[in-house]
Amino acid sequence: MEADTLTYIQVQEDDFSLAAEYQALIEDNSRDGAVVTFCGLVRDMNLDKSVTSLFLEHYPGMTEKSLLSIINLARNKWPLGRIRVVHRVGRLQVSEQIVFVGVTSQHRQAAFQGAEFIMDFLKTQAPFWKKETSNDGQYWVDAKQSDNQKAKLWGI
């Protein structure tokens, strides 16, 4: 989803490459001196359960719209340059990449805060659901109250 020339949103089953995402953030972009990236990976433990894989379901159509609206909220708060968000869906094994958020800015603090804000809202607003497979069977992951509280701290 090429929302505009500065924003790139992609929901896909395939893995992504941090190097390629970074290249797309900095190429022909000598204006922005700060680049912050976040990568989320499948952990081997969650709530004392030993996780072997997880399945990511999403709401096709709404997912991209929701990510775009989160990105636009971030742009209203900070002077951000390029923003790229890639979120995977489907079956993922331990240590596989789940999500990438990359933000450029002329200002270090804006890049850090923009990326953290996007992750906080993605965690509470974007329609993805995780089902984990562990030594204890399969179960849907419960939303964390701490994620809701963290998102509220941004005052939106």
Binding site: E57, Y59, K65, H87, K123, Q125, A126, W140, A143
Partner: protein, 86 residues
């Protein structure tokens, strides 16, 4: 006719991912999220246990909605658990 979608745990527990529904009473009937939710809760225990306000979020036409959000013919309405991506 509206389309109602269910995701995640909700879809499994209701054993339904998609429910087309005729808005029989037109705009004076199921014309808000709150009214549609009440209508669905009345369908039985499994619905009552899983669709209650506070445990299931709602989107109307792929945007997060509240209980007040109006519903009209041909809308796409989705119920789902709190999200857990990222």
């Amino acid at each position: 006719m509206v389309t109602i979608l269910f995701f995640g745990q909700l879809k499994e527990r209701l054993e339904t991912s998609r429910l087309p529904l005729e808005l029989v009473n037109g705009s004076e009937g199921l014309d808000s999220v709150a009214k549609l939710r009440d209508f669905l809760l009345a369908k039985g225990d499994v619905w009552k246990e899983n669709l209650a306000y506070g445990s299931a979020l709602v989107a109307v036409n792929q945007q997060m909605a509240t209980e007040d959000t109006p519903i009209k013919d041909s809308d796409e309405i989705a119920f789902f658990p709190p999200v857990t991506g990222g």
